[in-house]
Symmetry: C2
Subunit: 161 residues, 2 copies
DNA sequence: TATTGTTATACTCTATAACTATA
DNA sequence: TATAGTTATAGAGTATAACAATA
């Protein structure tokens, strides 16, 4: 579906009698789903750019935050929290382990599973990443007042919870 | 990044002294970007399911709506409106043409380009798709009142516009 | 027999370079 | 030479089946 849009001022208006700058998607304008997608894409792109400095993807940042809040969790739990399938957790965790940000530890009574923990390095980096994410959030929503930002967050939670 | 979450009541709480039902992503809870992503995914999945009845993807629905509002536009314009690259427009339009929902017409002074139009079938189907999308929107946001829905839409537009 | 983590695989989405035909 | 559309291709992201080790 559409993700961003708006023509770059065509030489001649696409629709007679219409402002040449008008968005091309006016029929979709009343859909919350469409607005959500476009806003989400904007924030996501901003975050991707900021995390790239640390060679991390948003999913890896989320994983670090979830591990930090739930030290010792299993990969199946992490998969559920990230809403991805267990096989996708493997390369994600491999990357975090190769960079010494997280570790898999065989520490459970059930020897099939691992407990996942952040390393000291991971905890330190996560603190910086949280700051970066918060800055990215503010940067992408400069058009909103503080009150509007809080209201938006409240409404979004109400939708997905 | 995380898309949905919440553990399915683990036998033992992952974090001592914490409600076993508590979400695993509390550190991400204050980020609008995170809430946006989760809400967007919920609405997107709902829409995908509803459009599947007509063997269409959200991007194809958006394309139909944009063509309807801008009859005769070029593929480069459509690519911009959908925020995708021109090569991605080709299979998308091929599909719409093979189903006789849209047509490419060599009608411009510039013989390299096509004008894209909806067929009568496309216009008729689009009307139904718009209804389906509106229903999907409402269905996914039942937790909101009418006023909250309007406020959410207003705030989202403010963010991405 | 069921489950955890893993491998292999495939399908979609996305992005880039290069080609064609026009300009 | 530049542009519209196209082709080919490669990289992510995502999903499923099947396997090994353990329960």
């Amino acid at each position: 579906m559409a993700k961003s849009s708006k023509l770059a001022e065509p030489a001649e208006p696409l629709v007679a009698g219409t402002d040449a700058q008008a968005p091309l998607d006016s029929a979709l304008d009343d859909l919350i789903g469409y607005a959500l997608r476009r806003a989400q894409l904007k924030l996501f792109q901003n975050l991707i750019g900021r995390l790239a400095v640390h060679d991390l993807r948003p999913a890896q940042f989320s994983a670090l935050a979830i591990i930090d809040q739930n030290p010792g969790l299993m990969q199946a739990d992490l998969a559920k929290a990230l809403a991805i399938e267990p096989p996708q957790v493997v390369p994600l965790l491999n990357k975090l382990e190769s960079r010494a940000l997280a570790v898999r530890v065989r520490c459970k009574p059930d020897k099939r599973s691992y407990g996942i923990f952040l390393s000291k390095t991971g905890e330190t980096l996560l603190k910086e990443l949280k700051y970066i994410a918060a800055q990215s959030d503010l940067d992408s929503t400069v058009a909103l007042s503080g009150a509007e930002r809080e209201e938006l967050l409240r409404l979004l939670k109400k939708v997905y919870q």
